[in-house]
Symmetry: C2
Subunit: 138 residues, 2 copies
DNA sequence: GTAGATGCAAACTTTTTGCAGACTG
DNA sequence: CAGTCTGCAAAAAGTTTGCATCTAC
């Protein structure tokens, strides 16, 4: 059985994620952020920890449809996040949780009418949030 | 204005896509397929043509959330495909078009209740199709 | 003490780019 | 002929891996 040690790198990464719950971040963004002079965390280490946290269900991993790097979202112990879809604004990057009764309707419709079993943690809806839309409209 | 020439590479790529409308294919898959002895198409050429076809709206480009390569789906002149979501089976890779009245409900709910303007061609729902599900259940 | 974690450098994969030559209209 | 397209090789960019060393428990 694989034990998990409580290390400085992992603590700092977790702390970063908990302070940025509304964002999806990439490995290099975390790397850039964790660059205090005598406390740098190696990029390979970051990738290894991201993988483990994703396996543990603490993070959700997505491939950004625009960019070519993977991004990670913190969901912590919160099991709910595995049962609803997430929307991301393509302009500001903000994540919106589709956490309402309509979520159930979507799942059911897909299953009943299209025989499709939706897997929420793999899917992400892209578009534009209200604020960015107003801003764009001027 | 950028003119588009009718070349052998592009013809062969288009032909491949039209014969595989139900699939999402990657650059290397097309490359492997177009390997007739004296008629190979260079991978760089394939990437350049994929980019152009995507700009023209003939293809839709996605990043597979599982793999690390981009995949492309043929939609041709069919404008409808830009107005509904697509579901992909994570097991067999088949693409299902969410082409029904419920699509409108989804868009409206996201806009009205979450102020989110959905962009269908960027989004994709992952899960499992009916056949694969039955097969998995045994 | 031992399993697990880290840093470093090198390897790997996918995608992009520069350039010279070939093709399309 | 001019503007595009192509192949080739080299370069990016993101991610993974091998190995020696270090750390947590």
């Amino acid at each position: 059985m694989q034990r998990i040690y409580r290390t400085k790198s992992r603590e700092r990464m977790l702390q970063f994620f908990q302070n940025h719950k509304e964002k999806m971040v990439s490995a290099s963004e975390i790397h850039d952020f964790l660059q205090e002079k005598d406390d740098k965390v190696n990029l390979a280490t970051i990738y290894r920890n991201l993988d483990k946290m994703t396996e543990d269900g603490v993070l959700i991993k997505y491939k950004d449809s625009q960019e070519d790097k993977a991004v990670y979202q913190y969901v912590g112990e919160d099991e709910k996040c595995h049962e609803h879809l997430h929307m991301q604004c393509m302009k500001c990057g903000k994540v919106i949780h589709l956490e309402c009764n309509f979520m159930k309707e979507i799942s059911e419709h897909l299953l009943v009418h299209h025989r499709f079993t939706l897997q929420c943690t793999k899917s992400i809806l892209y578009g534009m949030c209200g604020e960015c839309r107003e801003e764009a409209a001027g």
